[in-house]
């Protein structure tokens, strides 16, 4: 049991921090431009695919540096020539635009790289078990992912709180017009933040690709979860995104680890059920089975009872 | 006789800042009441508090003796208080005709009906046409409201507010940004449309205020410093110091 808890905790944190790399960019973008970027996870996918292609020719480490930059540049282009243009049609159109973009990027990825899973592997020097605990390996690559995620988190924190750019960004979040009047080029800041947010997503893709698989559906699988995180954490709140990322990461690993079902609960109260009833599926429902829908349940509950999210202070 | 609107110790704060700091005000039935005051005095906030857009932080608002504090706007509207906005606030993609009709539907008791065909409701549509006639937009009635000129939109704004026949009408700077001739037309319109009803208005144009109002209240920094007839307000030392004086210097 100790083993299970230890590894679930570790895995939960790895997943959570990975999710945070996506969620942080999404939250920054949202708080500045008020756009929930549906295509954010698509940039994550692009990161993985770019890194895959680069890794074939130049190796993993080059991909680690170059792919996020490429993705960031693409993000900047999308902001400059897509989002900024669509902005004139209003918020709903922006949301639909990013939705369409997500659809399009998936098609383009399939067009360029094909539909099957790509054999994108972790670099060989990281292919060893870092330590063994109760006979179970903890792969070095996971530790590497952890390290990168923490590094990014600290860097973000420092940039936002300590640097001039960070101050301008914070100002632009709260008072875009005022910041513009003070002589800062707000559209440029927007483009920059969008680009950096996408680059972060790309970086997450680069390091997640070998671990979680590089395939055309990878954006879809992760996309809505990241959405859930930024909403649950509170739109526009980085702290919230951080807490929610860890929460969702741990929730998902522990829900799988703990094998309890409704039936167990009923048995505590000595209630039996009819095995043929239409609700039979409800009674035999187990925690691992519903693990993937827990985030959405959380999302709906949060939106109903606390529309600002855990740490947020604005609703839409 | 109960007052049409009665404010008692009304307060509103946003975070640590108190914008409305204990306002007592009574507007009699049938009175035309103007609220004036320097920029940032809290006039619009006061309007929002009365009409239900903001929740009050303290004190109470009564309409015909009934406490309406913190009711949602639509409840307040149904109790007979209708308002216009300082920044034009219409339904831009709908035609002028439909804009006005939206202001009439609830009072004609259609509620959320999905079994009445709206174009077949003779009385409703006739009344709508009348209101449009009154605000002088008959020739423009099929145009989307969003493409009207500014003055036309202001007229429409007043039309929507007044269409439902609410007995208390609140107009927030109805003539703001208008030219002289437009202002004159607007005053005539307001006079016509508020005939026999209670009117509360915020207005910067002193000409309009002294022309229209039966009584005037002066709001300065969230407090009413005077509430009296135009004549007395004009002569009040306190008001002149606090407000008119400053205005005159400009």
């Amino acid at each position: 049991m100790l083993e299970l808890i230890f590894f679930s905790l570790l895995n939960g944190i790895v997943t959570g921090l990975l999710l945070f790399m996506l969620a942080s960019g999404l939250t920054l973008i949202f708080s500045m431009m008020g756009v929930l970027n549906f295509a954010h996870a698509s940039f994550y996918m692009l990161g993985a695919y770019f890194a895959y292609t680069i890794s074939i020719y130049l190796g993993f480490w080059v991909g680690l540096i170059v792919a996020p930059i490429l993705v960031g540049l693409m993000g900047a282009v999308v902001e400059r020539y897509g989002l900024r243009y669509v902005h004139r049609w209003g918020h709903v159109a922006e949301l639909i635009f990013t939705f369409g973009l997500a659809f399009l990027i998936e098609e383009v990825v399939q067009f360029i790289w094909g539909k099957d899973t790509k054999a994108y592997h972790e670099p060989e020097i990281l292919q060893f078990p870092l330590f063994t605990f109760f006979g179970q390996n903890f792969p070095a690559y996971k530790a590497f992912m952890l390290l990168i995620s923490i590094g990014i988190f600290i860097m973000l924190l420092l940039i936002l709180t300590r640097s001039r750019v960070g101050l301008i960004i914070q100002a632009a979040i709260h008072k875009p017009n005022m910041t513009a009047m003070l002589g800062h080029n707000v559209p440029l800041v927007f483009m920059g933040v969008f680009g950096v947010g996408c680059a972060l997503a790309g970086l997450a893709g680069v390091i997640a690709g070998p671990a979680l698989g590089t395939f055309p559906g990878m954006a879809f699988v992760l996309g809505s979860i990241v959405f859930v995180i930024v909403v649950v954490g509170g739109l526009g709140s980085l702290t919230g995104a951080f807490v929610a990322s860890l929460l969702i990461g741990l929730l998902q690993t522990f829900a799988i680890a703990l094998d309890y079902s409704v039936n167990d609960l009923l048995q505590i109260f000595n209630i039996s059920f009819d095995a043929d009833s239409a609700f039979r599926d409800l009674w035999t429902l187990s925690l691992p089975q519903i693990a993937p829908i827990l985030p959405y349940l959380l999302l709906i509950l949060i939106l109903i009872f606390r529309p600002t999210g855990l740490f947020g202070n604005r609703e839409t | 006789m109960t007052a049409a609107i009665e404010l008692q110790g009304l307060r509103k704060s946003f975070g640590p800042t108190e914008i409305i700091r204990g306002v007592d005000l009574s507007v009699a039935e049938g009175e035309r009441h103007a609220i004036i005051g320097p920029n940032g005095a809290g006039k619009s906030t006061l309007f929002h508090l009365i009409s239900g857009r903001y929740n009050v932080s303290g004190g109470s608002v009564s309409l015909h003796g009934e406490n309406i504090s913190n009711l949602p706007p639509y409840e307040i509207y149904r109790k007979g208080l209708s308002r216009s906005f300082q920044v034009t606030n219409i339904f831009p993609n709908m035609s002028v005709f439909e804009n006005v009709r939206c202001g009439l539907m609830w009072v004609h008791d259609y509620k959320y009906s999905f079994w009445h065909l709206i174009d077949r409701q003779k009385e409703l549509n006739e009344r709508t046409a009348e209101v449009i006639e009154e605000i002088g937009l008959t020739s423009r009635q099929h145009i989307p409201a969003g493409v009207l000129t500014y003055a036309e939109q202001r007229a429409l704004e007043i039309g929507i507010a007044a269409a439902g026949g609410a007995d208390v009408i609140m107009l927030d700077e109805p003539t703001a940004g208008m030219s002289h001739s437009e202002t004159d037309q607007a005053i005539a319109l307001i006079r016509k449309i508020t005939e026999g009803r209670t009117l509360v208005m915020v207005e910067h144009d002193m000409g309009v205020v002294f022309d229209l109002a039966d009584r005037i209240s002066v709001l300065v920094y969230g407090e009413i410093i005077a509430s009296d007839t135009p004549e007395n307000i004009r002569n009040s030392k306190a008001v002149q110091e606090a407000y008119l004086g400053a205005e005159a210097d400009e």
């Binding site: 709903v92 409800l282 | 993609n93």
Partner: protein
Amino acid sequence: MSEITKTASPVMARPLMKTLLPWIGFFILLLALPNIFSSNVGLYTMNLMGIFIIFALSYNMLLGQGGMLSFGHAVYFGLGGFMSVHFMNYIEDGDFTFPMYLIPIFGGLIGLVFGIIIGSFSTRRAGTVFAMISLGVGELMAASSLIFVAFFGGEEGVSGDRTTGPELAGINFGQDIHIYYLIAGWVFVTVALMYLFSRTPAGRMANAVRDNAERAEFVGYSQRKVRFVSFCASGFFAGIAGGLFALNFEIVTEENLNALTSGTVLLMAYIGGVGFFIGPIVGAVVFTLLQSILSNYTDIWQLYVGILFVLTVMYVPQGLTGIIMMHTAAWRMRQVGALVMPYLRIGIPALAMLTGIAAFLETIHHMRSSVEGDTAMSLMGIEFNSHSIVAWIVILALIVVGGYLTRSQLPQLRDAWETANKPPAQREGGGS
């Protein structure tokens, strides 16, 4: 999201005949279509179109009419389908007697019930919060559909048989042509009902709330309730569409309520034009055609749909219908004729460019996906070698020359457009 529809003038002034004319035309069209496209595939495609027309219109009650962006509308469609197919099975098992052709009513009812349940909390706000709740509910339902096998039948779904139960004039709906007329009948009735809904106080207020939710509160309407009413109605009609789906395919599966279907209906409505009542109809027809015909000719049809969608969102937010409606002014002034030549002049090079781009994509796709050494491919009946330089030169020439000529024709088109939209007599400053 501009509504340029001629928001109908009070009908008092309008002769009854004129109001009814489009509907009579619609009715005749529905009757006549199977005689024009009588093939099996034609019928099947039209059946699908009919279902999607209802579904897309019901979606537009949210997005276009009520300003609610939903990412989970398939929930009501799917549930309607499941409910209907279960009732089909009850009829088949003789549990109760009910005419099969009225089955979609059950679909509508469950759509309505879920609309009421979910609408009661999701319509509190519009905008992003509503969109997020709809997304969450959609994902939740889609995931649940694979867990609750008793109702959703797991991955296989639930199948039924539409030929049982009391017959209508000796027809048991075994043949596609019968089901076509059944769907057509439902399409006619529901389209009319949805149109009429938009002409009721609730429908009008939905528009008002979409335009300016706050102001609606100051004319006595609770924005939440207005949205709620639209939401429920929308759920009802989506459920009917789901019921027709069940009748047509005799099977309902998890995919009927998953995110893909929700995305598809958004796509249909938006491409068609959400600002117009007929927009989603146009969208459903175009999308079904793309889906069933384009996919026969090319593997990468979804790529084209994606490009079309993104371009629509960016440059033509009023959708295809919007493009058509842009011409009403010129049409009324009988000046559309002046646009024909300019359109031709820009259309031909533009078509060449598009052909070039499509050929470019197809050729690359062919090179990547075909068998090694298989370089022969055919496009639109032209056979060529995907590795030959000539083919590439032709393709690039099409793109470059077509693009250049298209660009060069833009000014003359703009001029022509302005002339065509200028009133012939100098009344007051017309133009657009």
